[in-house]
């Protein structure tokens, strides 16, 4: 039995009478402590899938299962990081994090909540920016703060919807490493579902990559590199290049012929 999963989920969008089918029998299962990437071309329904997992939308048919239990609505066991605007613009960065903590631990005294918030902001490298407002931060810093808030709420499951998708290439690498490091340091092992369309990001972070296509999962690949992972060491490995080629083929050409891969150079 998995930690979180979808069973035959169908979801339609209703836009002023025109019905658009966004998910059609989506099924997958994520084990406790597993990091799974959901990869697929834009518009294939990744964000929709994540909104079902987070409980923002309930499916028209099929079930969201958490710890084996059918679940509807949002819950404190899940934390979500979106691509844009997870933070409330009228709260300072530390207030944003403290406010998040307060929703989960309302009985904790405010002073402790602030200390806790500060601790998480230090973890993501924002110690000097705690009393800034979100509009005063770069996109990358805002995502750091959003991640700090989500982690500070100690959810068992992390749902991330292209959290680094809008960030420049250089900072994206820094943030990927940071996420990797934070997850490895965290006491309880988090279960993570991470939406991306970046192949390297998916390989670096995941235990398993799910390919989404035509409103459901088409294929999956396990990523068995040992942890803790290190980007420089990883990309030097022959096995990494082989795997990468396979993922790229699956992603862009939808073929999985291993013969193509052997002897192929890294891209």
């Amino acid at each position: 039995m998995g930690k979180i999963g979808l069973d035959n989920v169908k979801l339609n969008y209703n836009d002023n009478g025109t019905v658009y089918n966004a998910l059609d029998g989506l099924t997958f299962d994520v084990k406790e402590g597993e990091f799974v990437s959901l990869i697929g071309s834009s518009g294939c329904g990744k964000s929709t899938a994540l909104s079902v997992l987070s409980g923002l939308r309930d499916p028209d048919s099929g079930t969201l299962l958490i710890d084996g239990q059918p679940t509807t609505g949002t819950g404190k066991n899940r934390g979500v990081v979106f691509q844009h605007y997870s933070l409330f613009p009228w709260m300072t960065v530390i207030k944003n994090v403290e406010y998040g903590i307060r929703q989960v631990f309302p009985d904790k005294p405010k002073k402790e909540r602030l200390t806790e918030a500060k601790k998480y902001l230090e973890k993501v490298g924002l110690a000097d920016f705690v009393s800034k407002y979100p509009f005063q931060l770069s996109g990358g810093m805002q995502q750091r703060a959003a991640i700090a808030r989500t982690l500070a709420m100690k959810p068992e499951i992390l749902l991330m919807d292209e959290p680094f998708g809008a960030i420049d290439a250089k900072n994206r690498v820094v943030l990927q490493d940071l996420l990797l490091q934070i997850l490895e340091e965290s006491d309880e092992k988090k279960t993570v579902i991470f939406v991306t369309h970046d192949v390297d990001e998916a390989i670096l972070l995941s235990d398993r990559i799910l390919f989404m296509d035509q409103k459901k999962i088409s294929k999956e690949i396990a990523v068995n590199f040992p942890r803790p992972r290190n980007r420089e060491e990883l990309i030097d490995k022959e096995a990494y290049r082989t795997l990468r080629k396979r993922v790229v083929n699956l992603f862009y050409y939808e073929s999985d012929e291993k013969s193509d891969v052997e002897g192929g150079e890294g891209i």
Partner: protein, 296 residues
């Protein structure tokens, strides 16, 4: 060269104005000191804002206006001197009549603030209530759309006749003037709240009370303050109009009362006072905006 001239022009005009004020006037012109103080105050604020180009332009226009006014009333002397009071006479009203004037100002302001308070209270809370319930808003919105565009100033004679006291009537009319824009703004901002902010709030599992207090209210605050900015001048206008009809104090009453006695120095001074007060109220609101909305 022209730019330099543009920079010094208001100050040259100021000197001309002062020279004009100090030169001998026609008979019947009052003490010039209060007017002189006003001129110097204008010059000071001009010097204070010297970096802003627009202040320069405004200064030029104001001084030209004052020079013309001063020249034709106090120096040449128009035929109908009573209808066109000299600036000296207008500004001399204040030291003579300040008790009555300040009393009028405070009486008007008290009514204004009462109306503001009530309009904020009802506009925000009812707006939240209606905005949060699709059912209520679908019933009420068509009705509201018919009633809200009627300018509340239209009600004021009726309200004065209907309500027990003039104070109640004017508070009612002011409240209504400010209420509609706040109410409408609140409904719209609750119903059309940014999806991203709403999704983020929902994934945090925020309780309903905190949702209103920490999310919906701060989200709507800029809109509320904007609608206050728009309605502050209108509501003061409505108040002074109402005071002309039924009050025994206030600036509107002051103007109406003295125009009945053909004391046009006081009438003009009252009009200037209204301009000053509306400006001060606008400054107050932008100050409040600066304090409350530091996040934009």
């Amino acid at each position: 060269m022209i730019q330099k001239l543009h920079r010094v022009l208001p100050h040259i005009l100021f000197i001309i104005l002062i020279a004009l004020v100090l030169s001998p006037s026609v008979e019947g012109t009052g003490q010039y000191l209060p007017f002189l103080v006003v001129c110097i105050a204008i010059e000071m604020s001009l010097i204070f804002n010297f970096k802003k180009n627009v202040a320069n332009d405004i200064g030029i226009i104001v001084y030209i206006f004052l020079i013309i006014w001063e020249y034709f009333t106090a120096k040449v002397g128009l035929k109908n001197a009573m209808l066109y009071p000299a600036p000296e006479n207008v500004f001399a009203i204040f030291p003579k009549d300040y008790e009555k004037i300040l009393e009028g100002v405070f009486s008007s302001l008290r009514l204004m603030f009462a109306g503001f308070g009530l309009a904020l209270l009802f506009g925000v809370s009812l707006g939240l209530l209606v905005g949060l319930s699709n059912r209520t808003s679908s019933i009420l919105m068509p009705i509201v759309k018919v009633i809200s565009p009627i300018p509340p100033i239209i009600y004021s004679p009726y309200a004065v006749a209907l309500l027990p006291s003039f104070r109640a009537a004017s508070i009612f009319v002011i409240t209504l003037t400010i209420f509609w824009p706040i109410f409408m703004n609140m409904i719209l901002s609750v119903q059309q709240i940014d999806r991203k902010i709403m999704d983020s709030a929902r994934t945090l599992n925020i309780q309903r009370g905190s949702m209103i207090w920490h999310i919906l209210l701060p989200y709507s605050l800029p809109g509320i303050i904007n609608s206050l900015t728009v309605s502050v001048s209108t509501s003061f206008l409505v108040l002074t109009a109402a005071e002309m009809i039924g009050a025994t104090s206030g600036l509107g009453w002051y103007i109406k009362y003295h125009s009945d006695f053909a004391n046009y120095s006081k009438v003009v001074f009252g009009i200037i006072m209204i301009g000053v007060i509306v400006t001060l109220l606008n400054v107050l609101i932008s100050l409040i905006r600066k304090i409350l909305i530091r996040w934009k």
